[in-house]
């Protein structure tokens, strides 16, 4: 197949993907039933009493609760989470599902610790880097780029 035909196919697919990137951002509200940090910082009172789920970075921990920083679209809001004994350090990441209360607080029904500390994040990136490197080494052991046709070809023909 001619190189230019393949280039056109790639271009079309990438344009559709680019369209999805914009579409997903524009229609985000349709897929997230809960208010985000930007919604909360502008119209907090209107969400009080509602169920919500947030992802947040733990900033403080204490007896029966913690404080988390929730971010979206460059807006950040700090919320107190009550009714949880989750084992997490500041810097860790949690998911909180619960009811929004007055004065920037969530009465938690369920708290899930995603990263218990900053180190958990490093672990994930470490394992991913090993995966990426291993994959590339393996892939190019079996495949090579044919520079005449600009296709990937099996090394053993």
């Amino acid at each position: 197949m001619r190189v230019w035909v393949r280039a056109v196919i790639v271009l079309v697919l990438c344009l559709i993907l680019g369209g999805l990137f914009v579409h997903a951002a524009v229609t985000e509200e349709q897929r997230s039933p809960y208010p985000d940090a930007a919604d909360l910082s502008t119209g907090y009172e209107s969400y009080v009493g509602q169920h919500l789920m947030v992802f947040g970075t733990v900033t403080e921990t204490g007896d029966g609760g913690m404080a988390i920083r929730v971010e979206s679209d460059g807006t950040a809001i700090t919320l107190r989470v009550t009714g949880t004994e989750a084992a997490v350090e500041p810097g860790g990441v949690v998911q909180v599902y619960g009811t929004l209360e007055p004065d920037r607080a969530i009465a938690a029904e369920r708290v899930e610790v995603v990263n218990s500390s900053r180190w958990a994040e490093f672990y994930k990136y470490g394992a991913s880097a090993v995966g990426a490197l291993g994959f590339l080494l393996l892939f190019f052991r079996y495949w090579r780029v044919d520079r005449d046709t600009w296709t990937l070809e099996a090394r053993d023909g």
């Binding site: 393949r6 697919l13 914009v22 951002a25 899930e112 672990y123 994930k124 991913s128």
Partner: protein, 164 residues
């Protein structure tokens, strides 16, 4: 999401086991399938180029989220397919899509505090499938299980190859 290494190991395990029955499915094709498993992880492009930066350049809202969905997997599987010779397209597309789907499914069973996974079937539906909430992404147990299973499969595979 699970780490990239786990994502790559799952299709390795499944496709290697399948290769014991399917003649054409050798190591090089298994690796092509593994490549598909990396597609949903491309959402981490965010680390290199933030959505905010792209938004300010484009002047439109912008989100990488579709990369971790069925739509993103199908489109990028198409892009990867075209990089191969025409006679391999059907096979490459099938394998890459399969790899991508294993990653989406694996991520679809991780923990969500409200019991519903992300909208990984986007753009076909905005429905959030239920999740059994089996693990959180930083849980090393997932990787350990995947490594043990992959190791076992690799050993068995070697024996089968040797006996042929």
């Amino acid at each position: 999401m699970a780490d990239l290494l786990t994502h790559l190991l799952v299709p390795y395990i499944l496709l290697t086991v399948a290769s014991w029955r399917v003649d054409w499915l050798d190591q090089r094709w298994v690796i092509v399938g593994m490549g598909g498993a990396a597609i949903p992880d491309l959402i981490k492009l965010e680390i290199v180029l933030e959505e905010k930066t792209v938004e300010s350049i484009l002047g439109h809202p912008f989100s990488y989220d579709p990369l971790s969905t069925l739509g993103g997997v199908l489109l990028l599987a198409g892009v990867i397919t075209v990089a191969f010779e025409r006679r391999h397209w059907r096979r490459v597309f099938g394998l890459v899509t399969f790899g991508g789907l294993t990653s989406l499914l694996l991520d679809g069973i991780r923990v969500y505090a409200d019991g519903r996974a992300s909208v990984w079937l986007y753009p076909f539906t905005n429905w959030r499938p239920p999740t059994p909430s089996l693990y959180v992404s930083s849980d090393p147990t997932v990787l350990v299980v995947a490594l043990l299973a992959a190791g076992t499969v690799a050993v068995v595979d070697r024996r089968i190859q040797a006996s042929n």
